[in-house]
């Protein structure tokens, strides 16, 4: 009796190499390859990697249930200030907000890369729904549109005060811009991308808009290659928090892939070592990221953290970074080693040593004797940990909202946040029958009139493929 193979194809793309794994329905890695990238023909390495890996398993295109793509290109674009769109940075807050203009604390080169076109308009809401300034009228919108055209801006980021509670002004302005500039003009609305805390939410929204060209590029290349090879199954993009999302959702939220390689690398490294709880050191050419895995999940953080030199509040892997030039065959300098040990101290938190897994393309460069470890594992597939992590990952959805407890009960607010997170997950390609609540966090916002509760919900699910549940 033949058993129908159903593989998940994991693909990790970075500047130097394409790494791929093929995982079977028992979560066993059946094949793995690494193909160097030819910068003149980036799609060639993807095609070569997929061909090789299918050959190794004697598998055909129809055996691939779905593919997952972990790509470093958004992170690299932000880091190198390359390929970023010129963004109309629109804030609806005046007369509030003018003491801290948009992009105030941004590195100068990043500010220049996104164009620095700032529009501080009247608008915004008080918490109770009264407006701070009048919503921009038709003339103000016309002036804005005219400037966007004149400066040839390529995307717009709209941030309004208290939009996570009152999103209407952002939505109205977006509709007006779409009408004037056409539905293809990329827009990022801040209430999609963060909770209370204007500067961090605005920063994340602007970065999201700036990535609008870069975001879909890797997905397009990969989809073309897969189609050419006869693989028609769905492709999912890896998210920062260790889950997956559909390409359509990823195209709207490229910022949610800006640290996807780290998030998935952590999980993959733990899995390859057979550990549910461990510290992980991900070793790449640009440095070492240290993070924790607990209960198979990579540690994540949504409170403000730096990304590309800018403070944002999007979900990110909770890691400590040691920036350093690492090359194969060269041992780490004593100075870098010291910083790695300090990073490990911080990652561990408590003084007791714990198992450490070294993974990533340059895992071999970290010596076995490190302070604070009960044992250092370098799993055989260490360079492929990120592709492995992505192949294992569930589809994820989240919602992070603020509720007035004068209108909601606490249970009602929790239920609403979960409902919205589930909706996001289904849009992202989740099988609704397998949705689970992975995290539910609450925080009261202190000193506020009335009682306000911030609820953050994250749900995960198996991927929905061709209307069938994935049995793994």
């Amino acid at each position: 009796m033949t058993v129908l193979a159903s593989y998940v194809l994991g693909l990790e793309l970075d500047a130097l190499e394409t790494r791929s794994v093929l995982m079977d329905q028992y979560r066993t890695i059946r094949a793995w390859v690494t193909v160097p990238v030819n910068p003149d023909r980036p799609s060639a390495s993807v095609e070569e990697a997929v061909r090789q890996i299918l050959d190794q398993c004697a598998a055909g295109p129809a055996d691939v249930l779905y593919a997952v793509l972990v790509s470093d290109h958004c992170r690299a674009a932000l880091q190198e200030r390359r390929g970023l769109a010129r963004v109309a940075v629109i804030r609806l807050a005046s007369p509030a907000g003018t003491a801290i203009p948009p992009l105030l604390d941004w590195p100068e080169d990043l500010q220049m890369a996104v164009g620095g076109a700032i529009f501080e308009l009247t608008g915004g809401f008080e918490l109770d729904g009264r407006t701070i300034g009048p919503e921009p009228d038709d003339q103000a919108v016309a002036r804005l549109v005219s400037e966007i055209r004149r400066q040839k801006l390529e995307a717009a980021a709209i941030t309004g005060v208290f939009s996570p509670v009152h999103p209407m002004q952002e939505i109205h302005l977006a509709a007006a811009l779409t009408e004037a500039l056409g539905p293809a003009f990329p827009l990022a609305l801040s209430h999609w991308l963060g909770s209370i805390g204007l500067v961090e939410r605005e920063n994340g929204t602007v970065l999201n808009a700036a990535l609008v060209h870069v975001g879909p590029r890797a997905a397009e290349t990969t989809t073309r290659v897969l189609t050419r090879l006869g693989i028609t199954s769905p492709v999912f993009m890896a998210q920062n928090d260790g889950t997956l999302m559909s390409l359509q959702v990823a195209a709207r939220f490229p910022i949610l892939t800006a640290r996807c390689a780290t998030g998935h690398g952590l999980r993959g490294a733990a899995h390859l070592s057979g550990l549910s709880d461990c510290a992980v050191l991900l070793c790449r050419e640009s440095g070492i990221d240290g993070g924790l895995v607990r209960n198979d999940f990579p540690g994540e953080i949504s409170s403000p953290r730096e990304l590309a030199g800018v403070r944002v509040s999007i979900p990110q892997p909770d890691t400590v970074s040691v920036a350093a030039q690492i090359s194969p065959g060269t041992a780490l300098s004593p100075e870098v080693l010291e910083r790695v040990e300090l990073a490990l101290d911080r990652v561990r938190g408590r003084p007791d040593p714990m198992p450490v897994v070294c993974a990533g393309p340059l895992a071999d460069q970290v010596p076995s004797r490190l302070r604070g470890t009960t044992g250092l594992t370098r799993p055989a597939l260490a360079p492929h940990c990120t592709a492995v992590g992505a192949a294992l990952a569930p589809v994820g959805g989240r919602a992070d909202l603020v509720y007035s407890l004068d209108r909601w009960t606490r249970k009602g607010a929790q239920a609403d946040a979960i409902r919205r997170a589930r909706k996001f997950a289904v849009e992202a390609g989740a099988d609704p029958a397998t949705l689970e609540v992975a995290r539910l966090d609450e925080a009261t916002l202190t000193y506020l009139p009335g009682n306000t509760l911030r609820v953050s919900a994250k749900v995960t699910a198996k991927a929905l493929v061709s209307g069938k549940a994935v049995t793994r």
């Binding site: 807050a93 509030a96 003018t98 003491a99 918490l127 701070i132 208290f162 911080r346 000193y447 509760l453």
Partner: protein, 386 residues
């Protein structure tokens, strides 16, 4: 002559956070306001109290209200000056200098911003020596200065002028006014003469915050080096040696706001609660907080009591922690810093002692010999190290 420029703003951002004692708001946004103001208007002269003329008019400035609203609404440029201008108009007199209400936390930075925008010097002093929640707790008020006339403004430009019978009433009225103004308001109040400030303010606190920030910046990014940096500054000031009370992990967190299980939470407005910390040597430390960390107990004995400062550092990030964002599982170092003597007098303790916060104990100063803390040998000298 000390000028507060962009680097000073960055250093104050760190130092003011240490003096926040778990409250005072996140200094990052305050630093951004100050940076923008200093870039636009030039550096601020930090005036030593002795340089202040006895007859000069000094006005104290701050934001009050919800930190969450501040984080979201962000102040308007005009707001920084509107309260000051309205108060000056009401008094019929211009201020010669400004002084922060509060050196701990965000308000230290916003005072720098207001001074920059106004083109006035900032006096090296404040009303708390740390962060505190209420207006009647300022040292100026404790020693007889009237808070009123007192002005509050918001972004749309509404102005409320308060004349209250006493400073307790002022706090009550101002709190309601700030809510009515949208949740956060900029204030100008406690108008006083230079001579009065010299008698009643906590002196030298802005430069202390600056020095703490400078020393922390220069220290290696290791906990022990950071602790030494802080101790070096406080030991050579009106505060006194810093005590490392405990290094450990937050194992239990009890917040009164989160306790109610029923649908509608009748929560108090503030972050109130208790943190239980398991120390490395096995002992436990309980830290009580009401926005700020107020009291630390170990083995049934009070180790630090308000008004002395309790600061918690996250040992992973080396950043100071706020009471409202403290989480179970965090690895912390808990520090005690004695408050300057002007806040330890019987008169002061009536407003800022333990009983003002509902703790029925007498104040026990941190630097009294015999106080036991991890790393302290009772001589008043703190050994900082493993």
């Amino acid at each position: 002559m000390v000028w507060l420029d962009e680097q000073a703003v960055r250093d104050l951002e760190r130092g003011a956070a240490i003096l926040g004692s778990g409250g005072g708001g996140d200094t990052y946004l305050g630093a951004l306001v100050a940076l923008q103001a200093v870039r636009k208007h030039g550096p601020v002269r930090l005036l030593a109290p002795y340089e202040l003329a006895d007859q000069a008019l000094v006005i104290s400035v701050a934001f009050m209200g919800s930190p969450a609203v501040f984080d979201e609404k962000l102040p308007g440029e005009k707001t920084l000056l509107a309260a000051l201008e309205a108060l000056q108009e009401h008094l019929g007199r211009q201020a010669e200098a400004l002084v922060p209400v509060e050196v701990g936390g965000r308000n230290c930075l916003s005072a720098v911003a207001t001074a920059a925008a106004a083109g006035l010097p900032l006096v090296d002093a404040d009303g708390f020596g740390r962060a505190f929640p209420d207006l009647q707790m300022v040292s100026f008020g404790i020693y007889g200065v009237q808070g009123c006339p007192f002005v509050l403004v918001n972004e749309p430009g509404d102005v409320i002028i308060i004349r209250a019978a006493d400073n307790h009433t002022l706090e009550h009225l101002a709190r309601g006014a700030a809510q009515g103004l949208g949740g956060v308001a900029h204030l100008a109040g406690y108008p006083m003469l230079g001579a009065q400030l010299k008698e009643t303010a906590v002196l030298g606190t802005v430069s202390l915050a600056l020095r703490i920030g400078q020393h922390m910046r220069r220290a290696a990014p290791r906990l022990d080096d950071i602790l030494s940096a802080i101790n070096e500054v406080t030991s050579n000031s009106t505060y006194g040696p810093m005590r490392l009370l405990c290094r450990g992990q937050v194992v239990e967190l009890y917040r009164t706001a989160a306790e109610t299980e029923s649908g509608a939470i009748g929560a108090p407005r503030y972050a109130f609660g208790t943190a239980q910390i398991r120390c490395r040597h096995g002992r436990h430390l309980q830290v009580q907080f009401q926005n700020e960390f107020l009291q630390a107990e170990s083995e049934g004995k009070v180790v630090v009591s308000v008004p002395d400062l309790i600061t918690m550092l996250d040992t992973e990030t080396l950043q100071p922690l706020h009471a409202d964002t403290l989480a179970c599982g965090q690895h912390v170092a808990v520090l005690g810093i004695p408050v300057p003597e002007i806040m330890q007098t019987p008169q002061a303790l009536k407003c800022v002692g333990p009983r003002s916060f509902g703790y029925d104990i007498d104040y026990q100063p941190l630097d009294r010999p015999g106080r036991a803390g991890e790393g302290g040998d009772g001589s008043g000298v703190v050994r900082v190290g493993p």
